[in-house]
Symmetry: C2
DNA sequence: CTTGACACCGTGCATATACACACTATCTCT
DNA sequence: AGAGATAGTGTGTATATGCACGGTGTCAAG
């Protein structure tokens, strides 16, 4: 009973907490949390997909996405509608949401750049690849 | 407005979700979530430290640890007491907690081993190092 | 057109996480 | 011993996350 220091759960969650906390420090003063900007940006990157499809693509539970999306809609940053054909809920970033993304982009870029500087460019890129690989297990 | 795919927040949280979900599948049927086993194991690894010190060491908010610890105590898996000298709350795994850890260890080891097999031993080790590095940003 | 399979969706409940705030115990200085 | 600094704790509130369950719309078979 010893090697819990190698636990992937422990270490991956610890990393996510540290990174989220760090980015939050940049963004929060401007009215959006790092996770929320992450989701809003994700919606912007994936137009015309249903909530279920986006949940699948981003490794969310579908119901988590439902609620996080509700919050963004309450804030007026996103909206959703039914697809032309078939069943579903398709999210979309509103004009207000796009404006906020553009306002926050410099802060997010700064956070990314500071991470790169602290880790070195190569380590940053390697880390990104590792995280992407781990997201698919 | 394009490169959100490189967002560290998005990718680190996505990885943590995937890994947690995976380990949960092994452990949950036996009555403890992956995060809870992770914490219980962490307590076992760090005897005689206060809640604040452990929170600092593991990158938790202190109050998160308070509540998660409360839950483990409710389950009878952990207990806490004041230190000999000074202020504080020191957590400890109970006999029941140790028994449960020992019961779950094979499942956790299997989860780790399956991850290693899927990623390759080298990639697994590299990933662990990356996560540890990211936990310190 | 009905019916049953299937694909989506949302809600109730529980845990995880963090920030702001308030409280309490210790310790140190005078 | 009293007062202020320091360290440690817990609670209120809010978001993030996932599972179990139930509801609703779609579509193919008859």
């Amino acid at each position: 009973m010893d090697d819990f220091t190698q636990c992937m759960v422990t270490n991956s969650r610890m990393a996510a907490r540290a990174i989220t906390r760090r980015y939050d420090a940049y963004l929060r003063p401007h009215g959006l949390s790092a996770t929320q900007l992450s989701l809003l940006g994700g919606i912007h990157l994936m137009p015309d997909v249903t909530v279920s499809e986006m949940a699948e693509a981003r490794g969310f539970d579908r119901t988590t996405l439902t609620r996080n999306l509700d919050k963004l809609e309450q804030m007026g940053l996103a909206t959703s509608h039914a697809p032309e054909r078939g069943n579903g809920r398709i999210a979309e970033v509103t004009a207000k949401g796009i404006a906020l993304i553009e306002e926050l982009l410099p802060l997010w870029r700064q956070a990314q750049a500071d991470m790169q500087a602290e880790l070195s460019r190569d380590t940053f890129d390697d880390s990104l690849n590792v995280l992407r690989r781990l997201s698919k297990v």
